[in-house]
Symmetry: C2
Subunit: 506 residues, 2 copies
C-alpha cells in the first residue's frame, strides 16, 4: 500500500517533500528501458535545441508547482512541431522508453510529473497561435499556448476563452484539454468536451491523429478527439487544437450574499438561474470557516458584509448590456432578500470592487496553506448533500484539532473540502481516507470533479467508476498504447496493461 | 461500387423504394448466424411481450420514416430494462447474431434500419423518466424517451431540453445521443457531447457500462460516455442517460432580414453575435431559391418581405426579460439596417407570427419533396465558403434541368445543399457525387454535419477522416465489438473488423 500524498504548499515545504519522495519510492518502476547516451544523440537530431539534460535545467520539470510531487527524469524534450512529437514517440515506443507529457505543470494531482525516470515531453515550445476566425470565433493553435495569452489574443477580436482558472498565466491549452480543466466559467460555457472542436494528437507509436476540425458540427464517425480530452496524456499527446470562443461580454457584475441555512443557499442558486438566466456566469460558494480563514491569515482583507452568517454565495453576471444586467441583478437581489433566503448582501460598484469580492474566494486556498497543513479534496456532490460532506467530516474529525471548511463552484456542484491542521497528522489522514471518497461514492458523486486522478487518486478510481468501466478503460489503453509508455503510473494505472500496473494495485 | 442512395420523400415513392432495394442488395451479407425458432423462444423468455415476429408488425421497423432504406429483419425485440438489453446482446454475441439498435427511427442516413436480416433492438419500450432535479436541472431517463415528452416534463419545472429538431415528436433521446443530433439550438446550448452528463450503455458482449454520472464535473478517468455519443450504435446500445437542461426562457423573439450579398450575410451574423450575445438562440439561413420553393409549392404561404433579395437570415432570441430582449433586438436591427448590411426585415409581433416566420424555414424540406426528386447534402463549411458550394454546384449542374438551393444553420456553418429535379437523373447524381463531398473535404469541412454516416456515406468517410483516424476507429470497434454484431454495414463500416466490411470497401 502506498502512503497517501496530501496537499500542502506555502510554508515549511521540506517535511512534505521528504514525505512524498518516500511515497513515490514505493511505486515500483516498471521494466521500461533507461535513457542512454545514444538515445540523447538521437533526440538531438530529432529536435535540435530542444534537448535538456542538465540537472539544474531539468529540476523545474521534475516537480510540480506546489513542490508536492517529485520525479527523477534525466531528460526533457521540447519539440516545436507535431512531426517532432511523432518522431520522439515512435522512437520511445520502439525503445520502450516511458514518457510523461507536460504542459504548464500546474496540475494538483501529480499527473504531469514523472514518478521515476520517464522522459519529460514538454509542449512549452509549441506555442504558436495558428489562426483565428473573427466570424465564427474559432481559434486554432498549438498545445503549448498559455491560456492567458490565448485569451488576450482573442480579446482583440472581441472574444474570450471559454475557460478561466487560477493558473491561467502558466497553464497551457493542451494541458487544459488533457486534464479536462473546469474552473470558474464552466457554469456558463460548459466543459471542454463541448468547447474544443478539434484535436490533433500523437499516439504512443508516433501515429498522428488529425481530428482538427474547425466545424461546430461534424458527425463523421467516432468523435475520437473526446478520448484525448481528460485522459491525462495516457492515450496520446495533444499537439494542436481548435477551440470555439464565445463573444466577450461588455458588462460584468459581482454580488456577494449571505444565507442562514444551506436550504436558503439552494434557493438563492435556483432563483439566480431563473432571474439571471443567460447572463449568469459564475455561482461560487464559501462557508463562514473559509471566510474566517482568509480574514485571519490576511489582515488586509476586511469582511465585505456586516452579518456573520454560516454561508456565502458569490454571483457573477456577464452580458452585453450593462443597464439590462444591473436591472436583472437588482430585481433578483430584491427577490431573494424579500423572500428571506438572503439576509445580507453587497454588489460591487466597479471592476476593482468586483475583483476584491472575487479575490476573497480565490484567496481561500492561499490562506489555508498559510495556516499550516491542508488536506484537500475536490469532489462533485449532488446539490442536496453538497454541504453535508463538510458537516459530516467536521463531526468525524471532532476529536482532532482540525478546521474543516468548504468552498467551491456551487453552480457545478463542485465542492472543495479542505481540512486545516497546524501540522500533518497521520490520525487525521486515516480518518479522511478512504472516508471522504467513500462518502462521495455512496451519493454517486465524483471523487475528482476537476483536478483529475494523476498520482493522487488511482487507488480510489473504482469508487467513481464501475469495474466494467475500468475494464473498458484498460482495453482502450491497451489498444492505443500497448507498451504502456505514455504517462505510466497515472490516471490510467487501472487501465494500464498489467505489465505496467504498479504493485499496490495487485 | 454501390449505387448511391438519394433523398426523396412525399410523392411517387415507389421508384425510389425499388432503386434502394437494389442498392442495398449490393451490400453483401456478412457471415452472421440467422435467427432460428430456438432463438425466438429464448428471447421470449428474456423479454416476454417484447418479441415481434409478425411480418406486418415488423414492417415499420424495417424501413425508415422517409421509406428510403429497407431491411429484411424477421425479429424485433423491445426490451424494457437495461438487464434485458444486456441479456439479449450477450446471447446475440455468443450466437453471432447481428443487431441494429433502433430508437425513433427518424434518421436521414439509414443508420437505424437493417441492411439484411439483423435483429432490430428497439428502445421504444424503455421510456421511463426516472428523475428530475429542479435545482440542477438534470434529468435522468431511459433511452427510449421521446424528446418532446422529455421537453414537456422538464417544462413543468421551468426548464427545456437543450436540443430541438423537426423530429422531436418521434425521435428518442437515446437515438439523439447515438447520432449526436444537432438541430436548431446547438448555437446556443452546444452539442450533446457537452449537455449529456452521463450514459449507461451495453456493450456487444452484454457488459453494462455504468457511466451515468449526474455531475457537471467528473474527471475520473477516461470520459467513456463520449464514445457512445455519435457512434450510431456501433459500439454499444445506450440504455439510460442524464442530461443537463437549461432554464426555459421567458421571452422568444424572431426576426427575418434580407441581404444583397453573402458578405452582408456574414456581417449580419457577426453583429448578431455581438449585439445579441447571450440571448441569441438561432441564426438560420435561406437563399431566394429556398424561399421561392416554399412559395411555389405552398400557395398559402406569402412572402414575409417585400424585397426580392438573394439571401435571408432568420434570427431568434431567447431570454429572461422580454423588454430587454426586444430593446437589444431593435438596436441590433437598426445597426445592420443603417450600415446597409440588411436591406429589409420584419420582426414577429407575437408567437403566431414567430411560428410563421420559422415555419418558412422548416417548410423548405417539404416543399422540395413536393416538387419531385431531391438530392440532399448536409455539410459543414467554413463560413467564408458557406454559400460558394451552392454557387459552384449550380454552375456544375448548369447543363441539367435542376434547381440548386441552400439553407441551413448559419450559426453552426451547417449548410443543407439541396438539388431538386422533376425526376431522378443519373447524370445529375454523377455530377454531384463525389463532387460535393470532395469540394467539402478540400475546405476541411465536414461531409456530415449532423445527419451522420449511416448507410449513405461510409464510402466517403475518408474525405472527412484521415486514414490513421479511421484506423483508430477500427481498433476501437474491434476492441469493443470483436464479432462486429452491432449495427454492421453502417457508420463504422470502415472501423469494422475485416470480416464484416462489405464488398465495396475492399
Amino acid at each position: 500500500m502506498v502512503i497517501f500524498t496530501f496537499a500542502m504548499f506555502g510554508r515549511s515545504l521540506a517535511p512534505t517533500v521528504r514525505r512524498l519522495f518516500s511515497s513515490h519510492a514505493k511505486i515500483e518502476r516498471s521494466s521500461f528501458a533507461s535513457v542512454t547516451a545514444a538515445d540523447i544523440e538521437h533526440f538531438k537530431n530529432v529536435c535540435s535545441g530542444g534537448v535538456l539534460t542538465d540537472a539544474e535545467e531539468i529540476a523545474p520539470f521534475n516537480s510540480d508547482w506546489l513542490k508536492k510531487y517529485h520525479g527523477n527524469s534525466k531528460l526533457v524534450l521540447r519539440p516545436k512541431t507535431t512531426q517532432q512529437v511523432s518522431d520522439i514517440l515512435k522512437y520511445c515506443n520502439e525503445r520502450r522508453l516511458a514518457v510523461v507529457p507536460q504542459g504548464g505543470n500546474t496540475g494538483l494531482v501529480g499527473g504531469s510529473v514523472p514518478v521515476h525516470d520517464e522522459i519529460i515531453l514538454s509542449t512549452g515550445m509549441m506555442n504558436q497561435i495558428e489562426s483565428f476566425d473573427a466570424v465564427s470565433g474559432i481559434v486554432v493553435c498549438q498545445a503549448g499556448c498559455i491560456l492567458e495569452n490565448l485569451d488576450r489574443h482573442v480579446e482583440s477580436f472581441g472574444y474570450m476563452m471559454p475557460l478561466d482558472l487560477g493558473a491561467k498565466g502558466s497553464c497551457q491549452i493542451g494541458g487544459n484539454a488533457s486534464t479536462n480543466a473546469g474552473g470558474l466559467r464552466l457554469l456558463r460555457y460548459g466543459s471542454l468536451h463541448g468547447s474544443i472542436l478539434g484535436v490533433e494528437a500523437v499516439l504512443a507509436d508516433g501515429t498522428i491523429i488529425d481530428c482538427l476540425s474547425t466545424m461546430r458540427k461534424d458527425n463523421t464517425g467516432y468523435d475520437l478527439k473526446q478520448l484525448f480530452i481528460g485522459s491525462e496524456g495516457t492515450l496520446g499527446v495533444i499537439t494542436r487544437l481548435s477551440v470555439l470562443t464565445p463573444p466577450r461580454p461588455a458588462a460584468i457584475n459581482v454580488a456577494m450574499v449571505a444565507c442562514e441555512s444551506f436550504e436558503a443557499v439552494q434557493k438563492t442558486f435556483v432563483q439566480a438561474r431563473r432571474h439571471l438566466g443567460e447572463i449568469l456566469s459564475a455561482v461560487e460558494f464559501l462557508d463562514r470557516g473559509s471566510l474566517d480563514m482568509v480574514l485571519s491569515q490576511q489582515p488586509q482583507t476586511t469582511d465585505p458584509l456586516s452579518t456573520n452568517s454560516p454561508y456565502y454565495v458569490l454571483i457573477e453576471t456577464a452580458g452585453s448590456n450593462a443597464d439590462h444586467d444591473m436591472e436583472k441583478l437588482e430585481t433578483y437581489l430584491s427577490d431573494v432578500m424579500e423572500s428571506g433566503h438572503v439576509v445580507d448582501g453587497t454588489v460591487a460598484q466597479d471592476a476593482a470592487q468586483a475583483k476584491k469580492l472575487f479575490g476573497i474566494r480565490e484567496d481561500i486556498t492561499l490562506a489555508l496553506s498559510q495556516r499550516g497543513y491542508v488536506y484537500k479534496y475536490d469532489v462533485s456532490i449532488p446539490i442536496d448533500d453538497y454541504y453535508k460532506i463538510v458537516e459530516d467530516t467536521r463531526e468525524r474529525l471532532a476529536k482532532h484539532d482540525a478546521i474543516v471548511v468548504g468552498y467551491g463552484h456551487l453552480g457545478d456542484c463542485n465542492m472543495h473540502l479542505n481540512i486545516s491542521t497546524l501540522a500533518y497528522d497521520d490520525g487525521v489522514m486515516k480518518d479522511l481516507e478512504p472516508y471522504v471518497f467513500e462518502w462521495t461514492a455512496e451519493r454517486r458523486g465524483s471523487i475528482s470533479a476537476e483536478h483529475g486522478i494523476g498520482t493522487h487518486k488511482p487507488e480510489f478510481l473504482h469508487l467513481s467508476k464501475s469495474l466494467p468501466a475500468i475494464d473498458m478503460m484498460r482495453s482502450i489503453k491497451q489498444t492505443l498504447d500497448p507498451n504502456g509508455i505514455l504517462n505510466p503510473y497515472k490516471a490510467s494505472h487501472d487501465a494500464c496493461p498489467d505489465s505496467v500496473i504498479y504493485s499496490f494495485l495487485s
